[in-house]
């Protein structure tokens, strides 16, 4: 490779570096600061090394919250991605119907998180909520305040209601960008509806779907407000997800050291899983059906 080397080029990334430093790295350093010291007051600080990390790693409740969180995010992706694609495929393609569908579909996205929690909290109540009341009327013993499974499912359904539209909008945008010639060629080649989806629509949507999966994964992994408003993490700990557990530790119990250590671990988990997901989706697209193929 005969690439010209010019070290002056480094100056060009200086502004970005400074911006990122002030917006991300420096705030993060405070967390790092707390995670390796026992800070009693600004004057009284003891360096404790990795003690907080060791403590956090041995925390059984944390492990439970992490497992709950992983299952929750997995379910979110499992439901929302296929459902979003399905919605996008079923939507009208053009005209006022398309615009109207888009507006209606986007509605849940405009509602603030805590309001979403409140809406579902009331909706799910067995005494005055439409959803809870109807379910009980149908003979289903539903109560999200006392049954952990009900609480868990309610949080999941609420998140599906709130965020599937985002996946649908992204998928719809991906579908709309496919030129008509592809569909015409598929007709000429005698492709079935399934083949059109499998070989034209899905590959062409890959880019937006990667974004959708990453956004939904990161967002759901950090979910806080809605379950906090809806169930407060209960009953028991059944809907206490990672963020809430972290908040309890930092704000509720003032265990800033372990909370800071845990924050860093949390951050690294999201970063790592996003990286893995991204690479997996990219290579899944590149290797599909062709061995030894070239990269674009």
């Amino acid at each position: 490779m005969n690439k010209p080397y010019n070290n002056k080029a480094w100056f060009f990334i200086l502004p970005v570096f400074l911006t990122v430093a002030f917006s991300a790295i420096i705030p993060l350093m405070t967390v790092v600061n707390y995670s390796v010291q026992d800070i009693i007051s600004p004057e009284q600080k003891v360096f404790v090394g990795l003690d907080w990390f060791r403590e956090v790693m041995r925390d059984g409740e944390l492990h439970a919250a992490l497992l709950r969180q992983l299952i929750f995010s997995f379910c979110v992706l499992l439901v929302q991605i296929p459902l979003g694609i399905g919605l996008a495929l079923a939507m009208p393609h053009k005209g006022w119907k398309s615009s109207a569908t888009l507006v209606i579909l986007a509605m849940p996205l405009l509602i603030p998180w805590n309001v979403v929690g409140t809406i579902w909290q009331i909706f799910g109540r067995a005494d005055i909520g439409l959803g809870g009341y109807v379910l009980n009327l149908l003979g289903i013993d539903y109560n999200y305040a006392s049954n952990p499974l009900d609480a868990w499912l309610t949080v999941l359904v609420m998140d599906v209601w709130h965020w599937t539209p985002l996946v649908a909008l992204l998928a719809f945008a991906g579908l709309r960008s496919i030129p008509d010639a592809y569909y015409q060629a598929a007709q000429i080649d005698g492709a079935s509806r399934w083949a059109v989806f499998r070989f034209i629509q899905l590959p062409k949507m890959r880019g937006v779907l990667v974004i959708a999966v990453l956004l939904r994964f990161m967002d759901s992994f950090m979910i806080y407000t809605e379950p906090f408003v809806l169930t407060g993490g209960g009953p028991g700990n059944s809907t206490t997800f990672l963020s809430q557990y972290l908040t309890q530790k930092a704000v509720g119990q003032f265990d800033l050291g372990p909370a800071a250590a845990f924050s860093l671990i949390y951050f690294l988990i999201i970063l790592l899983l996003s990286f893995v997901l991204y690479n997996w989706m990219q290579s899944a697209g590149n290797n599909a059906n062709a061995s030894g193929g070239q990269h674009e």
Binding site: A181, Q184, A185, I188, D189, P203, A290, G293, Q294
Partner: protein
Amino acid sequence: MARIEFKNLGHAYSGNPASLKDYALQPMNMVWEDGGAYALLGPSGCGKSTLLNIISGLLQPSEGQVLFDGRDMTRMATRDRNIAQVFQFPVLYDTMSVFDNLAFPLRNRKIAEREVQARVREIAEMLDLTRDLKQRAAGLSADAKQKISLGRGLVRKDVAAILFDEPLTVIDPHMKWELRQKLKEIHHQLKLTLIYVTHDQVEALTFADEVVVMTEGKVVQQGKPEALFLRPDHTFVGYFIGSPGMNFCPVRLEGDAVLLGQQRLQIEAAQLQALKNSSGELKLGIRPEFVELAAPGTAGAVSAEITQVQHVGTSQLVTAQLEGMSVKARLSPEMKIATGSQWLRLAKPETIYFSNDERIGR
């Protein structure tokens, strides 16, 4: 392979056309012979893509019929028509290998895998794609991609016609020539009916046995390239084909005299009679290639002012002003031509006369 016939075929997107202007494709009758290479030539928006989509079945015409070998295909679904189409830009199944792309139309029709293998290899050989069969289609160059699009059409043995919708738009100039040669070769080998849509006259004239010229939804002429050049049926054909296009000068009759502006033009008796028998707006048309310099007072010549002489390699391009109009002439490169007053011979045996833009005596 099929003979394609259009019966009173027309299409209006609005559904209820009140006048001819509302048609994207004005009603017409045409026959294309089996195994012929046809080009649809015209500027953007002239209706050539509409006609192509009607042939492939992607569009239902609002009136008339399309027949393949005498069978009415007008309402037939695209996939049952045995039509192949190559689009303006390469349409590929990105996630598939070149082999799977080529095999796709066959596999969709549930053809035995052994035959698929044999057929794909045969076509790949013909298109020089054998080396790339295992490659992912998305990674190839634009011309290879267009060859794959073409190959997907060719793999089917039962294909009635191959339609090309400006297939060389995205191809590099030097590859264009090669691909066009390849097309001609394949046409020669397989004797397929080829229909080629383009707005590039060079492409149309070099590719096709017969060229169909269209403008504003109307087929103005179908003919061999020479005919379009020598005997354009419509002023549009004269103007669109040739570079520069045909010269047109309005003329009028006063008794037995033909007047071009203020000047009197002496023309042959037979042509004068034809002009007398026609009505409407009359025009004289002559290709720049046929215009000659003449001695003052020569029969068929008028006086003009030469304003520009350009050497363009194999010829000289002369621009002259006469009666407020601009006329172009293509003259031999050896001639010495001075700007200024000159006589130009416009009325010759090669001259064509038009009435209301239609050739007189067609």
